[in-house]
């Protein structure tokens, strides 16, 4: 029985080459169509509510496999404009426990544009490929998309996106945002030019500028970061001071993250002109 199953798994996952109808020009049309076909297949597979086990190894009576059984995860990875990896399995602390991983690579062969399919990772139970039906289904969906040579409907993607947005993000980290001061040998003109490059609404002041915070969809009226440049002996000191940040809600969270981004961007830009610029007021280890 096990031998028959092993043979069936070997046949099922053997390397294959299939003709496609993916059009030219490749980069502008064919690759985008292929990418959409793989995305559509992945979100369709992700909607099947499959289960995978994180357990690997010998499992008499299947007790350990059963204990570590949970909702499967489908991974989509585009390596380059011609290669996609699709995998099914479980996330473990040590990494991914694959049921299987399939690679789809588009090549220009003698008969036309072809898709080479390989299966670099396989897990079996009594010789049978784990979630074998899902493997066959996603492979056929992707190949069908490549054969049709036209973009699939985006409805599956939109449904999976909507469902994903309905599951809220984890608890945000409440980080302390403080004023920052950078001491630099760069000129006031160079500093001002750097500050003006930050893509936030700007108002110029006598000694610097003010960046408005929030976004077109996140109302944070009045919240801003004030930058001021002053001379100190032969150097310049740039201070960045948050003002009027909302005290609650998403706007409070976002504006604090935007201040963090402004601090880090300012450090990056000033240090391009003056690598020896020093910072006071924020923890430099938090700089991404």
């Amino acid at each position: 029985m096990g031998l028959t199953n092993k043979l069936a798994t070997k046949v099922r996952t053997r390397d294959r080459t299939e003709l496609t109808n993916l059009p030219d020009p490749w980069d502008e049309v064919g690759a985008r169509m292929a990418d959409a076909a793989v995305r559509a297949a992945v979100v369709t597979l992700g909607g099947l509510r499959l289960n995978s086990s994180a357990f690997r190894g010998s499992d008499f009576l299947g007790i350990n496999s059963g204990r570590s059984n949970a909702r499967s995860i489908v991974w989509f990875e585009r390596e380059d404009s011609r290669t996609w990896n699709v995998a099914l399995g479980q996330q473990t602390v040590k990494g991914i426990a694959y049921d299987w991983k399939a690679t789809f690579k588009i090549v220009d062969g003698p008969q036309g544009r072809e898709c080479n399919i390989s299966t670099p990772a396989v897990a079996t139970k009594d010789g049978t490929l784990m979630n074998k039906d899902a493997y066959g289904e996603v492979r056929d969906l992707i190949l069908e998309g490549f054969r049709l040579g036209r973009a699939p409907s985006a409805s599956a993607e939109a449904a999976a996106s909507g469902a994903g947005l309905a599951v809220h993000a984890k608890s945000p980290l409440q980080r302390e945002i403080r004023a920052m001061a950078i001491t630099t040998a760069a000129s006031a003109e160079a500093i001002r030019a750097s500050l003006e490059r930050l893509p936030f609404p700007q108002t110029h002041t006598v000694d610097g500028l003010v960046w408005g915070l929030g976004t077109p969809s996140v109302d944070a009226t009045g919240a801003c970061a004030e930058a001021a440049i002053r001379d100190e002996r032969t150097q310049r000191v740039v201070t960045i001071q948050p003002r009027n940040l909302p005290t609650e809600g998403f706007a409070g969270l976002l504006t604090r993250s935007q201040i963090d981004a402004i601090n880090n961007l300012t450090i990056n830009l000033i240090r391009k002109d003056d690598p020896a610029a020093t910072i006071a007021g924020i923890d430099e280890t938090s700089t991404p």
Partner: protein, 174 residues
């Protein structure tokens, strides 16, 4: 915890976005600053793991945040990753949830017009849901906001760019 999502809000967070804008200044440097602004403005979150170790349970502290990297084919790349304090160099980068890349498709030095394309090149789906779609939707929205601040005449084509605050309820006070 779930939120009601209306039809108008169910645009794909995975589909590409195309941008056309006029760059004021050095194109590479402007795009780099815009990209970092969007990535670094996405709030960090706690994504701690409870790990079984024999009969004991152990808590692994993780911070979910966007990390910027480089790719072979695209000049700008960002990943949402679960980071740990004592991770070795690059260790967190492999613990990804999704990845987005920005491709510069065309640049006309005479007019400083540039065409950019945002693509989601890695993601995970489970139980019918795109995982960490909230952070991805916010990143897309912040990227558009940053590009609009650079060029108010920005032309956009593609799917989700808007943001709804109900997607990330916040009960914190400062």
């Amino acid at each position: 915890m779930t939120a009601a999502v209306t039809d108008a809000e169910t645009a794909s967070v995975l589909s590409p976005l195309n941008f056309e804008l006029t760059i004021h200044g050095d194109a590479e440097s402007v795009i780099d600053t815009v990209w970092k602004t969007a990535a670094w403005s996405v709030p960090f979150s706690q994504a701690n793991l409870t790990v079984g170790s024999g009969k004991k349970q152990q808590l692994v502290a993780q911070t979910r945040r966007l990390l910027i990297g480089n790719s072979k084919t695209h000049s700008h790349l960002v990943r949402l990753c679960d980071t740990r304090t004592n991770d070795p160099q690059g260790g967190s980068f492999n613990r990804w949830r999704w990845q987005a890349e920005l491709l510069q498709e065309a640049f006309d030095p005479a007019t400083n017009r540039v065409s950019l394309r945002l693509e989601v090149s890695r993601f995970r789906v489970s139980g019918g849901c795109v995982q960490q779609a909230t952070e991805l939707a916010l990143f897309r929205h912040l990227l558009v906001a940053a590009l609009l601040n650079h060029d108010p005449d920005l032309a956009i084509s593609g799917d989700q760019t808007h943001w709804d605050e109900s997607w990330w309820p916040v009960e914190l006070t400062w």
